[in-house]
């Protein structure tokens, strides 16, 4: 039980910080795009991270 809770907490921390963003992207990709014609292969980790980070900072992100 405790191991399960710790694992859950760790997952939340990873998700909160964006540490697992690439894994979630791959999962989303596998869900939606697999088998569709004309769809490019998933981005590499480095490529994905670049886009993710640049896009994350396009608006009001921090307040007073």
């Amino acid at each position: 039980m405790r191991a399960y809770l710790l694992k859950q907490a760790w997952q939340r921390v990873r998700q909160l910080s964006g540490d697992d963003a690439y894994e979630r992207y791959l999962a989303h990709y596998a869900d939606v795009h697999t088998g569709q014609p004309g769809v490019h292969a998933p981005l590499s980790r480095a490529e994905f991270f670049k886009q993710w980070q640049d896009q994350k900072w396009m608006g009001v992100k921090r307040c007073c």
Partner: protein
């Protein structure tokens, strides 16, 4: 039976909260234990969350968990992503809680602990949290549209434009005042300056690490950064004692201000991954960690509050900022009670992550309560100091005098005993050369935090804790500065793009440099004036920021009230209507006093006229006469800015009233822009 115990539990909690609040309000002893404040606050939050927010969610907004959210309907794996509620809560809280709830309560403590505390509690549960939750709800129902877009769609074009211009100007003033807070914390402090300076290369290293060395390994990189930051605090102590390095980092305010300005420009032009993004990770971890540590330390230590409940300065004669309790306590504490800026976060980013409408209450209302709690802790950290020490740190030299002896005499004459030796002893314990006239709130908060944390985690480490607190404040002040300059740049590019399309391209280098320089020049000007102003600058800029932030809150509440009225919920529109009326009252009164008051410590024009007369009759000392023309111009500019903010506010409110009148008269109004119902497949 279970229902009985639940009711009994809530009734008991209500009684406990009422008793704690009564004790906080009535206690007139020498000191008051901080635990009373914490107990009162926690009970108020729990009851408001359990009953008021639940009632709003169910009966006013009619939140429908079976309705698919934009994250579900428009899921693209990027910005629209259904996300775990705790993760969204964390993102939302990290986005809304910046340095504001730390600085405001510290300054407002000049009225005593009671007025600020009551406003933080009441303002948050009835105003700020309602604003955040309703805005989040409205934006979630509208595919995550921004506040400006919603104002345009639901009320009229005027509201949207006002929200945009308002946001831009708030950003400029906010950055200037935060820059000033950092400059005042670094002034003649080699330890503080070197530690703050070290955060820049550390952030860059972390940026390179997560972009190139180990792409996307955010946690690894952040851990590395946090360790380096802690090391830089220790290293700063060594620099402080080093004959050469110590002198290298020992500066007056003005060169530090120029340093911050150059840094701000560089940060806006450099790619985000190099400085802004990694700094943001570090500041978020630091923020969450330190707030948690402070909460534990306060609970463990249960420190005594030495500040009286109410000081004589409620009559407007306070040294830290001029103006009476009403309306200035409500302007000084914006973040922590009600902050219009939150409406920008609650519309736009957060609604695109919400999995179920059922999460809106916890994220919108709950995160604001947590920010309010941070403000309560800042209030505690400021008021555990001896009042004499608090006033000695926070009173500007222009008010109490430049010499230490003059300052302690002035402060002691108000009835708050403090001696030069006591201040010297405190300064050397904190590893600083002096703590007199360190305005802006950061040094006094750091002294308060250091004494709380030092007692729990090691008394001999006071100087380390002090500079840890300075680093902690500086790192997310600089994050807000970077992020704000960048947002200002995007907004300006957007506006200029209407004149000349090429200027609107966010990747067109000449436009990037031009707009960044304009934004930096905007806040740099106010920062510069703040530094050369012998009264410290914070006393001018902070109220201006408060008025601007409350104006934005009033715009958000106008949009919310207008939508509630239009959707036939007239009898319940008071949930946002009453806070709106209150904000109108305080913002208008504060603006009126700032512009027309004949008291030179309050009225901008009065201060400008007074200074011109003194300059003309030649009674000013030469160093003050040299800067007087700039100060006079600035006071006049501030008066016009205030007038501009308050007229913006009235234009939006009257526009909302016009729309409501049309609705009541049965005339056509703009149709609701709410997205159509789609059943959720996640329930």
């Amino acid at each position: 039976m279970k229902a009985f115990w639940s009711r009994a539990g809530w009734a008991g909690l209500a009684l406990l909260g009422a008793a704690a609040l009564a004790h906080v309000a009535m206690a007139r002893g020498e000191t008051l234990n901080a635990l009373w404040l914490i107990t009162a606050a926690v009970c108020v939050y729990l009851i408001a969350y359990r009953f008021y927010s639940a009632w709003i969610a169910a009966n006013v907004l009619a939140i429908d968990a079976t309705r698919a959210t934009p994250a579900e309907r428009l899921n693209n794996g990027r910005d629209y992503v259904p996300t775990n509620r705790w993760v969204v809560f964390g993102h939302h809280f990290a986005a809304i809680a910046g340095p504001g709830p730390l600085v405001g309560p510290t300054l407002a403590a000049q009225f005593g602990y009671l007025p600020g505390t009551l406003w933080i509690l009441i303002g948050a549960v009835l105003g700020g949290a309602v604003q955040d939750m309703v805005t989040l709800f409205l934006s979630t129902r509208r595919n995550g549209r921004s506040l400006g877009q919603m104002a345009r769609d639901e009320i009229g074009a005027i509201g949207g434009t006002a929200a945009m211009i308002g946001t831009f100007l708030i950003m400029i003033i906010l950055i200037a005042v935060l820059g000033l807070v950092v400059v005042n914390a670094m002034k003649h402090s080699p330890w503080g300056t070197s530690t703050v300076a070290a955060t820049i290369p550390i952030a860059m290293l972390v940026g390179v690490y997560m972009r190139y060395l180990r792409p996307g390994r955010v946690l690894e990189a952040s851990l590395l950064g946090v360790i380096l930051l802690l090391a830089s605090v220790v290293f700063g102590g060594w620099v402080d004692h080093h004959p050469v390095l110590g002198a290298l980092f020992d500066h007056e305010g003005l060169p530090l201000a120029f340093g911050v300005i150059v840094y701000g420009f560089a940060a806006a032009v450099l790619p985000v991954w190099l400085l802004l993004a990694p700094r943001d990770y570090l500041s978020t971890f630091m923020k969450l960690g330190t707030v948690l540590m402070l909460a534990i330390a306060i609970l463990w230590l249960r420190p005594e509050i030495h500040m009286p409940a109410i000081t004589p300065f409620i009559d407007g004669t306070g040294p830290i900022f001029g103006g009476k309790l009403f309306p200035f306590v409500f302007i000084t504490i914006a973040c922590g009670a009600i902050s219009g800026f939150h409406a920008l976060i609650a519309s736009g980013t957060t609604p695109k992550l919400i999995t179920s409408e059922g999460d809106i209450r916890m994220i919108g209302y709950g995160a604001m309560l947590l920010e309010s709690f941070v403000a309560i802790m800042a209030m505690i950290a400021a008021t555990v100091l001896e009042p004499g020490v608090y006033f000695a740190i926070n009173s500007p030299a222009g008010v109490v005098g430049k010499e230490a002896l003059d300052a302690v005499n002035a402060i002691s004459s108000w009835g708050y005993q403090v001696t030069v030796e006591q201040m010297q002893h405190l300064a050397s314990a904190m590893g600083e050369s002096t703590l007199f006239a360190r305005t802006g709130g950061a040094p006094s908060l750091a002294v308060g935090m250091a004494s709380i944390l030092g007692t729990v985690f090691g008394e001999h480490l006071l100087a380390l804790w002090y500079h840890f607190a300075i680093m902690f404040e500086a790192i997310f002040i600089l994050t807000t500065l970077d992020a704000g300059t960048r947002v200002g740049r995007f907004m300006l590019q957007d506006m200029l793009g209407n004149l000349h399309p090429k200027l609107g391209e966010t990747s067109y280098t000449p436009s990037v440099i031009l707009t960044s320089a304009l934004v930096v020049a905007g806040w740099g000007y106010f920062l510069y004036i703040g530094v050369i102003d012998p009264n410290g600058g914070v006393n001018i800029l902070w109220p201006l920021f408060g008025i601007a932030n409350q104006m934005l809150a009033a715009i958000a509440l106008s949009v919310a009230t207008g939508v509630l009225i239009k959707s036939g919920k007239v009898s319940k529109a008071w949930i946002t209507g009453l806070p709106l009326i209150w904000l109108l009252a305080i913002t208008t009164t504060a603006a009126y006093e700032k512009v027309f008051s004949s008291d030179i410590r309050v009225g901008f024009f009065a201060a400008a006229n007074d200074l011109s007369q003194k300059l003309a009759s030649g009674v000013l000392p030469p160093e003050k006469a040299a800067v007087a023309p700039q100060l006079i111009f600035n006071q006049q500019l501030d008066a016009w800015l205030t007038l501009f903010f308050v007229s913006m506010l009235w234009v939006v409110v009257l526009d909302m009233a016009r729309m409501s009148r049309r609705y009541f008269a049965g005339q056509p109004v703009r149709p609701s822009s709410e997205a159509a119902y789609v059943a959720s497949r996640l329930v």
